[in-house]
């Protein structure tokens, strides 16, 4: 401990970094995470949401400690987000498209950085850490990543804050070397975790304004790549400051987009449709193609149309609960959790977004393109949104 370090974390309180962890944290590549916002542009809706991948990475390690003392696991939880691009998920699609990588694919990043040498010095195997990043307890239906980001995003947005009793949760989940599961007596704690998760999804992660800003940024960066101003790979070394600087110093569409983001003149919601309202099979929609065709039908530039089809994620509801010697998924054990899953499914929305001045044209074109019928009930609930 002599040479360790104390971190003052706004969620977990004081965190003790052991000396070997400090060596990882002190690399320039890890310090870069200090300058990558965890929730991208969510601060446009939740002005307190400025926290970064840095705190989250350290917080994930702290959660991991409750489940394991394996240094490979702890290192993996520290490093699991090292592959994030500026404004976090905002760059994810670009990396997938141009580099065929996920942000969890971190081997090439570690290998080409000073972290490689540090890990080597510490006697930790890169291969094993890279693997551990994609496995329990770092990644699972309930994992150290999700637990930390839910608590942290709640704290900084003020949504669902206090719903999860972290102490109780962490006492009742276990990692048996293979899976993360809930012990007898932990059902209520996991219920609150999933309630909190549901509330965060509906109020933050899937909030249409957050998604609009993310998509606008994504598109501006893609424009830079397509025009050869940056390489997709550069994103893995850039921080939020670099991304904003390059957009501001560019010309035309990217520069206009960053100004829109700066002045909060965002695209508006032309369409916000439930699954039932869409005749077309949602799974078969190609967002890029839809954008091009809707733009053409509406008679506007393609840059002016964003089609957003959120992925449905509901695996969390299957968190295994240990009953006698059997593992049973939460959604079968808890009526509340099974209800939450239904509520989440009925909360899904396909969005089409465009500048305010094109709203009518784009809405009309989208209704035609997707064959949408909109119910009165749905309009009411959309009206009521925060």
């Amino acid at each position: 401990m002599k040479n360790g370090k104390l971190i003052h974390d706004s969620v977990h309180g004081t965190i003790q970094l052991d000396e070997w962890m400090v060596r990882i944290v002190d690399t320039p590549e890890f310090q870069r995470l200090r300058r990558i916002k965890q929730l991208g542009f969510a601060d446009l809706v939740y002005p307190g949401a400025h926290h970064t991948r840095f705190e989250h990475s350290i917080g994930s390690m702290q959660v991991a400690r409750h489940l394991s003392s394996d240094e490979t696991v702890l290192a993996a939880s520290l490093l699991h987000d090292i592959g994030h691009t500026p404004f976090s998920h905002s760059g994810e699609k670009i990396i997938q498209k141009y580099l065929r990588k996920e942000h969890e694919d971190i081997e090439h990043i570690i290998k080409n950085s000073s972290i490689n040498d540090v890990l080597h010095d510490l006697g930790l195997k890169v291969k094993r850490i890279v693997k551990a990043v994609k496995e329990p307890p770092v990644s699972s239906v309930i994992d150290v990543d999700r637990i930390d980001y839910l608590l942290r995003d709640s704290h900084h947005t003020g949504v669902a804050y206090g719903v999860v009793d972290f102490g109780r949760l962490i006492e009742k989940i276990r990692f048996d070397g293979e899976r993360v599961y809930v012990e007898h007596g932990g059902v209520r704690a996991v219920e609150s975790f999933l309630i909190s998760r549901y509330m965060m999804y509906s109020a933050v992660y899937h909030h249409h304004v957050c998604r609009i800003a993310r998509k606008m940024f994504e598109r501006a960066v893609e424009f830079l790549i397509e025009n050869g101003e940056i390489e997709a790979e550069d994103l893995l070394r850039m921080d939020d400051y670099d991304a904003i600087a390059v957009l501001r110093s560019s010309e035309g569409f990217p520069c206009e987009t960053v100004r829109r983001l700066d002045e909060r003149r965002l695209f508006k919601r032309a369409v916000y449709a439930e699954r039932d309202e869409i005749e077309t099979s949602v799974e078969r929609i190609d967002a890029g193609k839809a954008e091009r065709e809707i733009a053409e039908m509406a008679g506007v530039e393609v840059e002016n149309v964003i089609v957003d089809i959120p992925k449905e994620e509901s695996s969390e509801y299957t968190v295994p609960v240990l009953v006698d010697s059997e593992f049973i998924p939460m959604e079968r054990v808890s009526p509340l959790v099974s209800s939450l899953k239904q509520a989440q499914i009925s909360g899904w929305r396909l969005g089409v977004y465009c500048p305010r001045e094109h709203l009518d044209k784009v809405r009309k074109a989208s209704f035609d393109y997707f064959s949408i019928r909109m119910s009165k009930q749905k309009r009411l609930s959309d009206l009521l949104e925060l």
Copy 2:
């Protein structure tokens, strides 16, 4: 304010009592509420649950202030629980049975107490206060009573604590002189209120141990009345200390019951059945008759069998939301609320309780009497209960 008073409340912080309120609070009848536990015997499960009707009454008034400045409403919110008997709801059934009254029928109590003179001096009409106790905003699908008790019971049990953001809730509910409703922008706040309520019902209000203790006490007090040791009306003047004293100084069954409660040797759960598992129509069951017949079938004394059929309360899910100029029930606006209602319905249980040594006999008799078939799934979820 000069002659008012500050109350340090563990939920609302500092509460200012105006001079006229202090005069009501200072009557011996109101001070008696200091010695009536809000949650009866729930401290056997949640050891911190010792709070009383006194704090709750003042807290309800504090909530009422956010909705109205009408002194009749404020006095009604202060006085709405003046008719409670020792250990709160634990005496409710007795009062209904012997006096044909509800705890909300407070006219006779006020008339026969020093509160009557105080109200007269203050120029407040008893009739109007008595009426206001049963009307919005004191009593409604969302009301000052429910808001305060939910926050307070959460605080003292540690269940669902922090789920409701009181500040946000109170800013978004309105009383228009007729109904309490939710404003545009308050849907999320009411959702959290209902989540919290759901969690409290399943973990506290309907917790089988809380219900067992309440039923045991109820039965012991009823025994005293039936044997002429006290009058049902006495309960309206007694506090928890009086009730325990009279039980302790009695003989036989009541004395044995209070010793069981003191030493936490409670009846156990012989049956805990879902609605679907019971062939008999639940609405038509007469608990008293069932107890007598099951006791006979099992060959045990009738004092040894408790049949508990909880009321289903789900009106809260209809909290009206103001959309444009229409009021729409929450359960139609929010997928989450509609899911909570389903979860509550599937959480309902009929319970049969008896001393540990009679468990097998009573279980068997009850299964026969109610024609119960029990599924494996249900047994699992019962196993997992806290």
Copy 3:
């Protein structure tokens, strides 16, 4: 764990009782603590302060677990308050006077109870537990008792709530088998602990109304003993319900006192003097003698005069901090702690209390008896008290 038990604690969240602990907790003598209020009559000032020695005892054990895994230490922390009398400290002086015991002297209580057999069965030595109750980490300048009661009393009074970050504190204090000390990096956490303690002393423990009610009860119980209605030893078996019942069924002064407490018609403050304002040396004052003489000078019954001379406790400010390999007292390390000690000393007050109607006579007699001069400044700060 199979046969252990989960306790829902309002301060620590879920607490796991091991099977052997459950056996101690399930004895009637331990269950009695459920019915002894932790803060006596403090609920007359802080209406939420109804928590009991039961929760506190289990909470202390939970704190102890962070410092030690020795079963003797854990059992001692569970049992350290088994010797409390009704309304906690309210009976302390009586036990000291009549039985020459402190509430920490628990050997005779354990020996004469079913706890003795349970400990024997568990292979735990009573002698060692009895000794451990008076030693670190159960009793010390910072100990498991103080940490738990401070957190718990804060939670239930709403005073200084949230000031102490328990997680941070518990991570930074250590028990080395001999002393409880603070580690490098824990100074701030202990500072907040001591700030909280200071606030609790000035707002709760030394609040004049709390002290008045305690003294009134003490005197009524003493009256019962002097008149042979109960034995001092009975107090060790009685709970709050028993004490109130015996007072209510008595005649004259004790009965009148319990009615005053019930209706909150308390004695008032005739004198509230700083040390500097009293010419007489405070250390040499005999409270009983002073009461008799002041009563005579004032021409009132001696029952009507209460002289209260609070003990000064400031040992907590000496919590040892480990610097290099030396232990240094907090008050020397932290300017803030040294300042708190000064603030506490200047907050000390000698109180004389009596019924409202005798205030003038008793005040005058007290001023003469103690040779008090009162400054304007002091009167101001008394005026401002909550």
Copy 4:
């Protein structure tokens, strides 16, 4: 309200912006505050401290609402920080030196921005707003600015979080059109406010690492100005992104400094002296001159020496308390507050900072230059710092 807007604030919960406020908030000049960190580089020590002047400005308005409904006051509380430069206080000295302005001098900024037109449209006088920014309740010994930043900085650093009960505080402070004061019954609430303030000063605002980073940035920006790369006035239009971009694209010292900040390779503490340890009269020290001479004595470049002489601010301890009809300063009413002031004074430190490799030379030169004698005691307490 129809055209107003709801803000989700992490401290105050939901904040309602009236339509006229939205018009101010929507100007590009106000939106720029979204990108100016409230605590500059404090996130190097407290990784959660990323909040911005944007939230703080809106939060200050929310606090102001509790004290006044005057639109000039509300507009002033919204606009009081519009004159901040990148990384907040980090640019303060530069503005003072080159523009002879404070960040509260906002007239020229408003006049040259779109805010001017908006205010004109709204019928609000710029002159009156500009004046209100420097007067109670926006600026005072206790004011809307301080209340909001203390709560907010606590929330985001995790230091002293929960110490202040905002509800209680805001209920007990009043603005009489002339001064902000504390009412009878609010002494304890203000005590907690001042405890929190003390803790924040010692743990955050005066934390040596925060001060070092701020001074490093300040010096790098000053270097850019001295070399004609930017004008001092540009800082009033720049946000944090612009400042980092210009530093990163510069050469030599500024570029090296931003890399040091990015990689957290900060200057170290060569000297950290109490007032009593310095023979030289602190008031007469010219920091710039001292830096030059110490650099020369130590034989290092002047860029490598930072002399930091924090201002002493203790006016908060004089918050007026209304007693009868007199205003009395808190430090005279409360022993605790008077003690805090002493603790703050003894916590003051003069710092000299330099790169790690020059520590010895610079320490020696500084000891000579300032005639410092350092006590053992002080070294201990420095050792213990977080």
